[in-house]
């Protein structure tokens, strides 16, 4: 479904992603794990069109999309729930959700019905329907960011660090939702620093280090890989 071929992304002269080649098949949950500054978020920004691709190809459903403007990517079926949630703080939960479907030009009735679908998935948002997004807790904002992305009816959902800064209980809840989304047939590309959780739910995963893919395999393989365990799961074998 999504194929990255030798993709390079750079902030001016500084390379952030080097020759990344990644495949995501329809119906899969694919995780990209790695430390701070490994280039994970940059990679998602590149796919969503927020960062210009300096070289390489991004192919979605057989078509090259690496030069498309971001507002056209979303119409093709790729939605990004960005790092740090980035909900619109001065607008209500309802308005944030409707903005997620902005490009689809739905009638108000259809829009209400689709917002209701999101409320079924995220019941806490229903209680907050008319509150400004700035008043929500971090976990609620994360749910809103994901729900807002889903309002674009994406076939590929890009999730950037959904666990960032959240309490363990809320993280469990968010990951539960990701699993149920996968059951509903949405393909998910998940970027996470919480490598253990991400690998546990991922079909396949890539490990990114200073902009390059250094390892790939199924979620379970990587979860039990000694190098991964030492570097990203905080489990050291040579502790004194």
């Amino acid at each position: 479904m999504l194929k990255l071929k030798d993709v390079n992304l750079a902030y001016g002269p500084i390379a952030a992603v080097r020759k990344a080649s990644i495949d995501v098949d329809a119906g899969e949950v694919v995780a990209i794990v790695g430390g701070n500054g490994a280039g994970k978020s940059t990679l998602l920004k590149g796919i969503a069109g927020l960062m210009p691709v300096s070289s390489g190809q991004i192919i979605f459903d057989g078509e090259e999309i690496s030069q498309l403007a971001p507002h056209k990517q979303v119409a093709r079926g790729i939605a990004l729930s960005p790092e740090g949630r980035q909900v619109f703080p001065d607008q209500t939960v309802y308005d944030n959700l409707t903005l997620g479907a902005y490009f689809r030009r739905l009638s108000n009735d259809v829009l209400d019905a689709e917002v209701e679908e999101q409320f079924k998935l995220f019941p806490r948002l229903r209680e907050r329907r008319d509150q400004l997004a700035v008043t929500l807790s971090g976990g609620e904002q994360q749910m809103l960011a994901i729900a807002r992305a889903l309002m674009g009816k994406p076939r590929l959902l890009l999730l950037d660090e959904p666990s960032l800064g959240l309490a363990p209980k809320i993280i469990q809840e968010i990951f539960g939702i990701i699993v149920s989304l996968r059951k509903s047939g949405i393909t998910i590309l998940l970027v996470e620093q919480m490598a253990n959780m991400a690998l546990a739910i991922a079909d396949r995963a890539y490990v990114l280090e200073t902009g390059s893919v250094i390892l790939s395999g199924t979620g379970q393989q990587l979860l039990h890989d000694p190098k991964v365990r030492a570097a990203y799961l905080g489990i050291s074998h040579n502790a004194a």
């Binding site: 927020l50 403007a69 507002h71 990004l80 960005p82 409707t98 903005l99 902005y102 700035v134 971090g138």
Partner: protein, 306 residues
């Protein structure tokens, strides 16, 4: 008593004009983080396009130093207002594409110079077309002073106030209720995130400049019967409107409107006391306000939960 009411009404009328232009500053600032420093020339251009339209609609020669009062009667004045708004709006698209977009979002202040320069060019073009002499413009409601509770009011002042309020209420509704308004708010918060919603951010920014410039054009035709049309009229209005936007808080459209009215009434009130002290007191107060409230009276530093 009458004289106070009179002062208040003319202060509100001129304040309404400041508010319209200040709102224009706020619209481009929130969506593109840039300002059109040629706004003054857009006001003057608006006034002269209005004049030209009034003459054209009445089948008169296209240059004159005083527009006869029949030329502003019936449908002609409203049509001239709309035409001036539309032409100024188109010029706003032009200034965005030529002088702002190449520099916006790249850091630096090149857009300040390029919009100022665009304004200087506009003024020179205006002088070549219409000449330097001011033109008297009649009010569509006539120039007989009305008596309201003993206070003498020019009918044009009431018209300006009514139009300004009408336009601003309509815009406020559009911004808060319509999808395009919410999309503009989204772009104001973050162009990148807005683009993830499928919003064509470039188009919204063009629209913001068209709207802002259109407001300046409309303001020019509204004020022309009071101040008379002159290619040098704009800078004073634009500076006051900019001050009003700063007092009210550039990122708060409603604050800018309040700022405009406050400045207009203040100016009018000081003028009642000592006309030659007007500018000194007004700008002194602006500096004082900013010393204590750097984000403006109604502005607030944005706080985002991380």
């Amino acid at each position: 008593m009458d004289v106070y009411l009179q002062t208040l009404l003319s202060g509100l009328a001129i304040g309404g004009v400041y508010a319209l232009i200040a709102l224009g500053f706020s619209i481009t600032f929130t969506t593109t983080k840039t300002l059109n420093f040629a706004q003054g020339e857009f006001i003057a251009f608006g006034a002269f396009i209005g004049v030209t339209m009034l003459l054209l609609f009445s089948g008169l020669a296209s240059t004159t130093t005083a527009v006869p009062s029949e030329a502003a009667s019936a449908w002609r004045y409203p049509a001239a207002v709309i035409a001036a708004g539309a032409v100024a709006g188109l010029m706003g698209v032009l200034i965005f594409l030529l002088a702002v977009r190449p520099f916006a979002g790249k850091g630096g202040m090149n857009w300040v110079m390029s919009t100022l320069g665009f304004g200087v060019m506009l003024q020179s073009i205006g002088l070549a077309v219409w000449g330097p002499a001011p033109v008297m413009v009649p009010s569509p409601l006539g120039d007989d002073v009305l008596r309201i509770a003993g206070a003498g009011v020019r009918p044009q002042e009431l018209l300006v106030l009514a139009c300004a309020i009408l336009i601003m209420v309509a815009l406020d509704l559009v911004m808060r209720r319509s999808r395009i308004g919410k999309a503009m708010m989204a772009v104001a918060h973050s162009p990148q995130i807005a683009s993830l919603m499928g919003i064509n951010v470039g188009l919204v920014m063009i629209g913001a400049f068209a709207l802002s410039s259109g407001l300046a054009g409309v303001a020019g035709v509204l004020i022309a019967p009071i101040a008379s049309a002159s290619l040098f009229m704009g800078i004073g209005f634009a500076l006051k409107a900019f001050s009003a936007a700063i007092i009210g808080g550039l990122n708060n459209p409603r604050g800018c409107i309040y700022g405009g009215f406050i400045l207009g009434v203040l100016e009018s009130a000081v003028g009642l006391w000592q006309a030659q002290w007007r500018e000194i007191v007004v700008f002194g107060l602006i500096i004082l306000v900013l010393a204590f409230r750097p984000a403006g009276l109604f502005g607030q530093a944005a706080v985002d939960k991380v």
